[in-house]
């Protein structure tokens, strides 16, 4: 149960983080605003690694044991950010939200199948309902503007 609450809390924080990041971009410029975010988080996590006594995981022996492909998450995040900036200005917030969610949940399902071997018709139906709910809300918001 705890993990479900953490997942929802992750979403709650996501919106706040997005809004503060937008403000940082407005005040400092997009690149400098992102740099503040990433540099600060790097320093905080580095401190926490050593405080918790996990400094050994930063040794080259340990780093090189990890498959290189798993380090690509941050490249994917950066590339997604650039594409979102490019695509959202041309398609509007409503369509962009739905398209990104469809892409993200579709990929997550495929990768869950690869890494955990889990996939079912209930999951696929659930994804469609999540996308339909978001699309419906976006439509209501769009009409009320």
């Amino acid at each position: 149960m705890f993990v479900y609450f953490v997942s929802i809390a992750n979403g709650l924080l996501n919106t706040v983080n997005k809004m503060v990041n937008v403000r940082a971009g407005q005040c400092l410029g997009k690149a400098r605003g992102s740099l503040v975010n990433y540099a600060e988080a790097s320093i905080i996590s580095l401190c926490l690694i050593f405080v918790l006594g996990n400094g050994g995981e930063l040794s080259w022996e340990h780093i090189s044991q990890v498959p290189l492909v798993f380090y690509l998450g941050s490249f994917c995040g950066l590339a997604a950010m650039v594409l979102i900036m490019l695509g959202t200005t041309q398609t509007g917030a409503m369509l962009s939200t739905i398209l990104m969610l469809a892409g993200q949940l579709g990929t997550a399902t495929a990768l869950d199948y690869v890494f955990f071997g889990t996939c079912s018709w209930q999951k696929i139906l659930g994804i469609f309902l999540v996308i339909a709910g978001i699309a419906w809300r976006e439509k209501i918001q769009h009409e009320s503007v």
Partner: protein, 142 residues
């Protein structure tokens, strides 16, 4: 059509990001994941700003103080998403996180926080929230 494809690719990349970050959890502690997820973009951004754009890196006068909380939020988000991906998978995390995002974005819009344009919550939006919640529950239990 071109921009629609661009946005679907952006979503696909986000799916890969969540899943790969979660897989790093098999090798690193939660804060180890946070470090690698954030330090790689720092290097890329520094190269971009100094060598390509030739921008100044330090220029932070007159910036609202709360902006400097982004790093803490970034650590909390990556640590929690990696933890949840390993426990329940990327699809369930993304679905439940969408529920959370809907709730917090409705609150931000309703109260006009962070300088957002105020837009009152409408009761007719409730069925949309229920649909997303039912979908998320199906994903989690499916």
């Amino acid at each position: 059509m071109f921009y629609a494809v661009i946005l679907i690719i952006a979503g696909i990349l986000q799916g890969f990001m969540v899943s790969f970050n979660g897989q790093l959890g098999n090798y690193y502690s939660l804060f180890g994941i946070c470090f690698f997820v954030h330090v790689i973009p720092v290097v890329i951004l520094l190269i971009h700003m100094k060598l390509i754009k030739k921008e100044k890196i330090f220029l932070y006068n007159g910036v609202p103080k709360y902006i400097f909380t982004v790093g803490f939020m970034g650590v909390a988000m990556i640590a929690s998403s990696s933890y949840c991906t390993l426990k329940i998978g990327a699809t369930a995390l993304s679905s439940l996180s969408t529920v959370g995002q809907m709730i917090s974005s409705a609150m931000v819009d309703h109260y006009g926080w962070f300088g957002a344009k105020q837009r009152k919550f409408q009761l007719k939006e409730i069925p949309c929230y229920l649909l997303v919640l039912i979908g998320a529950l199906l994903v989690v239990n499916g």
